[in-house]
Structures are given as structure tokens and as C-alpha cells.
């Protein structure tokens, strides 16, 4: 288990071992979806937002 900081809220995130680039994980504190950009060391970024159409 490695640790990383959530880029959204700054909370500590524990990451699983077999982390893969491109994977999306969510922050347990703020709920943000984070994309794994790099694994050693882990680099996270906000995942691109799913454009949701709630209709208008």
C-alpha cells in the first residue's frame, strides 16, 4: 500500500499495490474521481468528467 494525496481535497489516499496507469480511483474523503497518471511514484490527476445530460 502506497499513499498519495488527493489532488482535489488534499486528503491522504491509500493506493493498492497493482496500480496501473489510466486507472480511475475515487477519493474516500471528497469522492473525486482521480486518474492514475503514473505509478512509480504514483501521480494522480482529476479524471475527465463524464458529460452528463440531465436533459434540458
Amino acid at each position: 500500500m502506497t499513499e498519495a494525496e488527493c489532488v482535489e481535497c488534499g486528503a491522504e489516499l491509500s493506493l493498492h499495490d497493482d496500480l496501473e496507469a489510466g486507472e480511475i480511483i475515487d477519493c474516500g474523503t471528497c469522492g473525486a474521481e482521480l486518474e492514475v497518471i503514473d505509478t512509480e511514484p504514483p501521480v494522480l490527476d482529476r479524471a475527465p468528467e463524464l458529460e452528463e445530460d440531465w436533459g434540458e
Partner: protein, 349 residues
């Protein structure tokens, strides 16, 4: 046209929510006869199999690829569909009424900013926004009519009198806090709109950057602070506008402004400060109707005006507005087919 005449109409996207409303309104309209309703998913099924209220209407869906020629074509399809097919639409109809956002804005720049650009921008100049309270003068004879966004409609109707009466000049801070029902999302619906997840909510669904801001800005000339919440109703949009006018204003001024803008409007009702249960505008008082209610209160403690505006998003906010605009465009009786008064009591219609 002469008033007894009957016009043929087609509804593209007839299996959707606003498409179903259009079919209902056209079926009860004295001047229209429905020639076609399209759906790809329900091709050849009866319209009643999707819309149980239309079981008495003898009509089957057909494929949108097989368009018939009609007097008026209504498109109730998702954003982007009409702009791709607008030439075809005009090959089959003299008048096109589009309920999507495709022809609401005036310029390509706006579509670049708020949507993903525009592929039929040559039509933007020709289109007239359907809301008669805004565009009554431009509608007669219009060939391309663009139905407004439901949240934009509620907001514009609430704020317009303040601009008409120059109580606001556009430099003020305006917060618009909107509450809407689940039919606004259309018939599709993913997990967030499943009954167990969607019931009983007050859910911020568009905290910022809602596309309807573009329409509001276009018509009122002002950028608003806009946030939309989903609440537990099916029909209905309610906009609460918190406004801070530069100069002191009295309740008398406000009544003058609102009466000035709306007293001749057949579908606008002013509701503010009476007794009883229904003292301010609320969606269920106008549910199933083409009426809009607006009202206000003046906050002496901080010079704020609070404006309330309520519509049925499926009616005044889309299908009803479209018929209303079309009635005027085509020279029909303005209120034809839109006379339903609404219900009491009524739950979450």
C-alpha cells in the same frame, strides 16, 4: 390562415416526453391533425403503448427516415439532431418548430461557448424563440421556431419585468436557484434517475455552468449566478431569483412592473402575498397547464427582491410553449389547444 382550417403536423421524437406532450396537445387542438409521429425504438407500435394517456389516439410510430410532408413539423429530439436534419425538415414542412437548444441562440459564438459549436448556423438568423412573452412581435409568419429551455423560461419570466421597468439595469448581482422535476431529464434515464435513487431528493445537479444561462443572458443581457437542484416531483420547474436592485424600490413599484409586463398575457398569473395555502407561485398550481406564475417579496432587511417563478417544464417550458408560439406564427387563436386549467388537489404531477 382562416380559423376553421386544419393543418397537418408531424412530431419527430414522438416517443419522448415532450414529444408525447406535443401529440397530446395536437390531438386536442382544433386546427391540427397529426400526420406522423416518429420513433426509431418504437417504430410501428401504437403511440398508446408508450404514452398510456394516448390509448384513444389511433396512430402508430413510424421511422424518422420516412418523413411525410406536412404543414408543420415539430422536432422533440435531443440537442444536435435538428441541426443535422434541418434541411430535410424544411423539405417536408413549411414551418419547423424545434424544442431542442439547436436554434435558441443567435450566434455561432454562443454555440461555441456553451455547446459544441453549430453545424447549420445559416438558420440562426431566421429562428424565433417560441416564448411569446419575449417574441410576440417576431412570431407571426416565422418559419423556424425554437422552443426555449425550461429553466431558462422560468427564470426569464420571473426577471423580465424588473428589466422592462428598469428596476434592474444589468449591473446587479442576480442569484437564481432552480428546483426541477424528473421529467426534465427526458425518457431515457440512467441510474441517477431510477426511482429508489431519485425519490425524496434535494440534489444539486447543476451547481454551476448550466447551459440555460446562455439563453438568459441573450434575452436579459445579464449573466446570472445559476444553480439547479433536482427535487421530488415529475413535472415542474421553479426558479427563485434573489436580486439586489441599485436603487430603493417599493412593493408598489414591483406590482407596477409585473402588471405592466404581464397583465395582457393570457398565460401569465401574478401570485404574491395572498392568504390560504398557495401564496406564491408553485409548480403544482400550474401543473399540466401552459400557465406561468410569478410573484415576489421584498426583503426590507437587506433591500433584496425575491422573485418566484413556476411553470410545468413539459408545457410552458417546452411542448405548450411550442404550440403557443406556433399558434401565433400561424395566425391561429393564440390559446387554442392550451386551455386546460390545471388540477386541485394534485400531488406531484
Amino acid at each position: 390562415m382562416s380559423e376553421g382550417e386544419t393543418l397537418s403536423a408531424a412530431v419527430i421524437g414522438g416517443s419522448g416526453f415532450t414529444g408525447g406532450e406535443l401529440l397530446r396537445l395536437l390531438a386536442g387542438h382544433p386546427n391540427f391533425e397529426i400526420a406522423q409521429a416518429t420513433s426509431r425504438s418504437y417504430d410501428r407500435k401504437t403511440v398508446g403503448s408508450v404514452h398510456p394517456n394516448l390509448r384513444g389516439v389511433d396512430l402508430r410510430f413510424s421511422d424518422p427516415a420516412d418523413l411525410e410532408s406536412v404543414d408543420v413539423l415539430f422536432a422533440a429530439t435531443p440537442h444536435g439532431v435538428s441541426m443535422g436534419q434541418i434541411d430535410t425538415f424544411f423539405e417536408h414542412a413549411d414551418t419547423v418548430v424545434d424544442l431542442s437548444a439547436d436554434f435558441r441562440l443567435n450566434t455561432v459564438e454562443q454555440y461555441d461557448e456553451w455547446y459544441d459549436g453549430h453545424t447549420a448556423s445559416e438558420y440562426l438568423d431566421k429562428s424565433v424563440y417560441a416564448l411569446p412573452e419575449l417574441t410576440r412581435e417576431e412570431l407571426p409568419g416565422a418559419e423556424l421556431i425554437a422552443g426555449g429551455g425550461c429553466n431558462a423560461t422560468a427564470t426569464i419570466l420571473g426577471l423580465k419585468p424588473l428589466f422592462d421597468a428598469e428596476i434592474l439595469d444589468g449591473s446587479e448581482q442576480i442569484v437564481v436557484d432552480v428546483k426541477v422535476g424528473s421529467s426534465e431529464g427526458g425518457a431515457g434515464g440512467g441510474e441517477a434517475s431510477s426511482h429508489p435513487e431519485r425519490s425524496g431528493i434535494v440534489r444539486p445537479y447543476a451547481p454551476i455552468s448550466h447551459r440555460h444561462e446562455a439563453e438568459i443572458e441573450q434575452f436579459l443581457g445579464v449573466s446570472v449566478s445559476f444553480t439547479v437542484h433536482a427535487v421530488d416531483m415529475i413535472r415542474g420547474a421553479s426558479a427563485t431569483c434573489h436580486v439586489f436592485p441599485g436603487a430603493p424600490v417599493s412593493k408598489g413599484d414591483l406590482w407596477s412592473a409585473y402588471r405592466g409586463s404581464y397583465e395582457d398575457e393570457p398565460f401569465m398569473r401574478l401570485v404574491a402575498g395572498g392568504g390560504g395555502v398557495y401564496r406564491y407561485p408553485e409548480p403544482k398550481a400550474v401543473a399540466a397547464t401552459n400557465y406561468g406564475e410569478v410573484g415576489f417579496e421584498l426583503d426590507p432587511s437587506n433591500k433584496r427582491i425575491v422573485v418566484f417563478s413556476a411553470i410545468d417544464n413539459m408545457m410552458k417550458g417546452s411542448a405548450g410553449q411550442a404550440i403557443h408560439g406556433a399558434n401565433i406564427a400561424l395566425g391561429l387563436e393564440e390559446t387554442a389547444g392550451l386551455e386546460f386549467m390545471g388540477l386541485h388537489p394534485v400531488g406531484a404531477p
